[in-house]
Symmetry: T
Amino acid sequence: MARKVFILNGPNLNALGMREPGVYGSKTLQDIERDCRTYAETLELGIDFRQTNHEGVLVDWLHEANESAVGAAINPAAYGHTSIALHDAIRAISIPVVELHLSNIHAREPFRHKTMTAPVAVGVICGFGPTSYTLALQALANHIKDQ
Amino acid sequence: MARKVFILNGPNLNALGMREPGVYGSKTLQDIERDCRTYAETLELGIDFRQTNHEGVLVDWLHEANESAVGAAINPAAYGHTSIALHDAIRAISIPVVELHLSNIHAREPFRHKTMTAPVAVGVICGFGPTSYTLALQALANHIKDQ
Amino acid sequence: MARKVFILNGPNLNALGMREPGVYGSKTLQDIERDCRTYAETLELGIDFRQTNHEGVLVDWLHEANESAVGAAINPAAYGHTSIALHDAIRAISIPVVELHLSNIHAREPFRHKTMTAPVAVGVICGFGPTSYTLALQALANHIKDQ
Amino acid sequence: MARKVFILNGPNLNALGMREPGVYGSKTLQDIERDCRTYAETLELGIDFRQTNHEGVLVDWLHEANESAVGAAINPAAYGHTSIALHDAIRAISIPVVELHLSNIHAREPFRHKTMTAPVAVGVICGFGPTSYTLALQALANHIKDQ
Amino acid sequence: MARKVFILNGPNLNALGMREPGVYGSKTLQDIERDCRTYAETLELGIDFRQTNHEGVLVDWLHEANESAVGAAINPAAYGHTSIALHDAIRAISIPVVELHLSNIHAREPFRHKTMTAPVAVGVICGFGPTSYTLALQALANHIKDQ
Amino acid sequence: MARKVFILNGPNLNALGMREPGVYGSKTLQDIERDCRTYAETLELGIDFRQTNHEGVLVDWLHEANESAVGAAINPAAYGHTSIALHDAIRAISIPVVELHLSNIHAREPFRHKTMTAPVAVGVICGFGPTSYTLALQALANHIKDQ
Amino acid sequence: MARKVFILNGPNLNALGMREPGVYGSKTLQDIERDCRTYAETLELGIDFRQTNHEGVLVDWLHEANESAVGAAINPAAYGHTSIALHDAIRAISIPVVELHLSNIHAREPFRHKTMTAPVAVGVICGFGPTSYTLALQALANHIKDQ
Amino acid sequence: MARKVFILNGPNLNALGMREPGVYGSKTLQDIERDCRTYAETLELGIDFRQTNHEGVLVDWLHEANESAVGAAINPAAYGHTSIALHDAIRAISIPVVELHLSNIHAREPFRHKTMTAPVAVGVICGFGPTSYTLALQALANHIKDQ
Amino acid sequence: MARKVFILNGPNLNALGMREPGVYGSKTLQDIERDCRTYAETLELGIDFRQTNHEGVLVDWLHEANESAVGAAINPAAYGHTSIALHDAIRAISIPVVELHLSNIHAREPFRHKTMTAPVAVGVICGFGPTSYTLALQALANHIKDQ
Amino acid sequence: MARKVFILNGPNLNALGMREPGVYGSKTLQDIERDCRTYAETLELGIDFRQTNHEGVLVDWLHEANESAVGAAINPAAYGHTSIALHDAIRAISIPVVELHLSNIHAREPFRHKTMTAPVAVGVICGFGPTSYTLALQALANHIKDQ
Amino acid sequence: MARKVFILNGPNLNALGMREPGVYGSKTLQDIERDCRTYAETLELGIDFRQTNHEGVLVDWLHEANESAVGAAINPAAYGHTSIALHDAIRAISIPVVELHLSNIHAREPFRHKTMTAPVAVGVICGFGPTSYTLALQALANHIKDQ
Amino acid sequence: MARKVFILNGPNLNALGMREPGVYGSKTLQDIERDCRTYAETLELGIDFRQTNHEGVLVDWLHEANESAVGAAINPAAYGHTSIALHDAIRAISIPVVELHLSNIHAREPFRHKTMTAPVAVGVICGFGPTSYTLALQALANHIKDQ
């Protein structure tokens, strides 16, 4: 059976496609999930793709990932910029976590330049729209293979 | 049927009336809801009045408002000062949102002077106690009419 | 005879209508004064509506208001962001003062986010264009009635 | 019947024991709960011991504590450093609250040096590992007795 | 004929006596002027005592003082904390200027701790209520005598 | 008839010549006005040359310039470093405004490094003494011609 | 013979009881010493209880403690917020040091929120009045036992 | 003929392999170049791979890339954190530029958290060691295809 | 017998006269003590005039003053800018304390602009050289008389 | 033979004309050079016009200018905002240097508001597009004549 | 008789050898004193080598050095980073003072990067362990010889 | 053959002797090189003495030093205050590097107080003019001997 990775999505990503298409593009989160499934197969990975608007649920899911997955990609959206709880959750688990963002956070408002989760992630990918997800999967797969 | 607006209340507002009456007055949130219903009728608006202590639930409700209401008034309470998730939620939806606070946030501790939600709201009303709610309804009604 | 309130306007508001209509709308200050008079009558208030580009004159007028009015609404414009003199003037008088702004100051340049006058005002209303004035009158009338 | 105190635990404390043992020690939260029960008996206190990864749930529980307990000890973990909602919740209730941390927050990253909840708590205890809990219970018992 | 010194008073000092007596005392500016006249006689100085709410008028008067007086005492009030124009005016003239404040500016809000005029004044006296004026006259008289 | 430009001078510039000659040179403002008139003739411009110590008067004059001139050069002196009112006035009018300073503001105290008016001016010229005025006239003439 | 711990008290603690009883309570330092002795006996510890207003003496005593005691509790008072010398002294010695404060330093002026000594102490206890001392003794006893 | 992309490397990357292997890994820049060539072929891209310790040379090369390549990947190393010249160079050219870093810059010293080049790049990839290069090539290829 | 006031002098004031005469004048501390004695007699006050280079000794003396004097004037010199211990000492005692400085602290390095002791002093006098001492005595005498 | 001045241009100015025409206009650097030559002749100056993307080369050229020219105009572009080396180079040479910028640096991103070179230049001209160059030549010619 | 220099050592240096040998090395202060004596002889200097944990004593000794020595080397340790009193003491005396540190203060915590004493010292030497002392002696000897 | 050390000099040091002699003295860099050679012989070291105005060249030379020298002394001049590239270069090589400055950087402008290279150097010597070079050689020789 394929090893599984979690792909976790934070607040407002359920609104993708209708939310500021100029910034986030016109694909919906369902479109992205489908792209991820297709791409993950080529990497021989299964994926568990989820979205929530709740910081606490993201923490819960990271703990859960630690039990049932070999790695996680997270688009923490707004919570990534301020959440010490997510920082601690990533630190508390032993599987590798890759952080990704659809938009280039460095090209937006100053409060999006800082990420609280990045220092405990393996690495960060941002700015490539939906491609950020498949790049993150690729990065995660390489990292798992190298361990 | 009357057009509907959401009136959303953030953390600790359920404790209104007993919580620091010197700062927040002696009316309960139920009293305020009643005042809002009465006032909204004069504006020919229906209201959906809710309270939660959860940031994520406020995000969920804003998305829901976008589907079923013509506008929203929000007293984000504590979350208004720090929440990028609420900022993004207001930006992600297309109905107008008015921010309000019972107390004058500029007359309190420095960490209450800044509001993360205001830049994406239509405008802000603060400092008038329960009257802030009816002023917000009036402002929202005018804004909807002008669009 | 109707109780009187002062409505004081700070620098550059005389240019309203032609000044950056995208930010401030196309109504002139005379249009707004007319709206205020009409609205004030429904509140059984008389109004004394003035504009000046001089910080010192605003201070003078606040002192004068204390002698001959039951309250004041002030759109301090640029001076609201830096003037300790206006802060002190509002503190020095005993009638209630409501602060208002046409534009949403939180959605503009950082130097407009802070208001030096707000901490000593009853409350603040901003972002609703000319409606900010009538909301301020309503708020002031309620506050006077509650005292 | 023994008077009851709430012992509330914030995000990631469910991972205790496996999470960075070098920082947090090898005891699990269940071990600590057991120690607390034993110690509380000597103070003639009953305890209600809970953990959640959700900021909003901590707010809910503080309100609940106000109804059914004589005091609370809280290890807010990550949320203690940023949460105005928790600050307001502690201020909104009338029972005494003691803040505690397993690790010495002043010896860690700068973003852990500040605590938003401490200014409204009775006092703070940090750095003594699981002993922080029993010291907090002792402090709370003394405080209740002195009132 | 006695040498003359200017005693210049900034914004809101005309409200003295009724303005926050807890901070500024119950004497009016007229009382203080009378005290100054009496005290100045013992120093063999004549005084020209003025008040204005206008920053520009204070600048005008400092230039005027340079022509017709041997020194000046200034209570710049609110303008002292921010005015580069007053800073430049004091620097532009050749007579000595002593700065004074009724209240202890260091014991009040942070925005009153800094004074822009002090670096170009001879010295500063604050916190002694109306006595600050007579101390300033004494200091000025000594300074003139020592030159 | 020659097109007219306003040349507006802020606080303390009336003291030029006697005020810190080491910093500002020995020419008086009258000398500079004479130089400007001569130079303006070569550019086929008429000039209206004024000075005031009042921030509000500068705002008034900028509005007036908008009615009767084709451009303005302003030496805002001290007010340029802090005045949002001047910033707004320049933004509110449609004629081009060039900012100039006698001294090199970047070589002086930090509080002179920042200019609030520059972001809304066409450009800035500083550090060349009285020559700054004729350079500003030249720049203004070129700008008007290019429009 | 009982193992000995030092209890060191910094500046102004000799004034306890008369110094701001609203903040520090009405017990004198002698009362607290007596409480400590009684409590220490139950922990089978001897105590050496001292007070000084001199930063250098606190450094001397910490060095001395390293020679003749098994641990130390220190209430550094004012010096705790700024003293790198005390920070270095605690780091230079090998016995455990517990920091304590009578008042809740996080609920007071910002300059008391930071403690320079805490990062090198085992942990910190603050806000419980004289109980802070006995809690610190308890914490120290536990720490010594666990080593 | 294959379309060409530039892969530009900044200061000290010539020391790769021997320079802090714990941070940067044991591969040399030649190893990485070889990996890039192999990977680029699968993307049907040719590569021009260069390294320099000179900020000005990186600017020169970006201009050159604009003439002869369809995109660029840049590891600006140290210069990325401070160089406005590189920021301007990327902005001045019309081909897409992807920024990459071997190490996770957010997990290192604060002066590496900020990147001056990122706001004008398409996106950023960091933290994956040599894999960062192939991910950047993939991202660049996708971006070029989508244009 | 005359009521006594303490005049306390902080570090390096023993070097007065030889220490930077350009800043501090050529009088020695003995000269100033003599001036103070003479002046105090006219105020019917006795004085206890002391100097120390030790922060702790200043704290000790303030406590002593509280027992045996009716007020104190303090020139805290360098310690005034940073000492929380002196701040607390002045707060801990009930006699009035006047702060003074020989030089104008606002005209010197930024680290001398702030005074930690001023917020708890009655008021501050600075910049008048040795005259600062006699003005402080005068201020203190007035304050004691007014109580 | 005409006296010679250097006109030095920093990074990315070689891209002028194609680089962000909205900000920098459509003239190329060659166009500007031609304008400068023509204008310089009217001032009886020869010019040596150069461009480089290398900070070190600008330093080299300033030293060279000191040997063979009577003054220099420099458009340091990006390096002007951060380069202490250029600051030192201008300070190290004895000929006058005028700083210029095409765009109004105060109207752009905050990192362009500060100029490290301005404090050691004679003065600064910015915001007038290519006219900035001829104004700078005029300013330089006047300055040389006045020396 | 040999000219004498003072070598003054600040807080915690008496603990050298046992205090964090990883940072400060294994030599004791007595070892360093011996090295200094030997080295000073080669420079034909006598030395007076002292250590204290008291800031005030360092001030006293600097004054004493001014009377009986031709120069001083000071390792102010912790006090160097914050002491304005030491800054003033060095400024108040006329002999040259060289500052030294055993460790490289720039490679340690940010609060050790700043030195308050350095701006008034001749120069600073840090990071060379006990060799810092002999280098300081060498530097002092050269400086004295050059005067 | 003598072991070799590099002595590297940064921007503007080629102008030594004529550049601000009040700050840097009247010796030329050639004079200093001669002093270094003479002194190095007594230490049985050969030296390679170079100067450049290019940051990139300093990086190149540090890499070169790693191949052919046993240590390096560097006077990074202006680049030392900002260059992360030099920081990384020193970190990337394995030979010891000593940083030196002619002037006392702590006694100059704030932008010279910070050094980016110091944290990775063995130690720093500044303020002793040309003697800084020979002291650095001595420090380097000792360090090499101790390794």
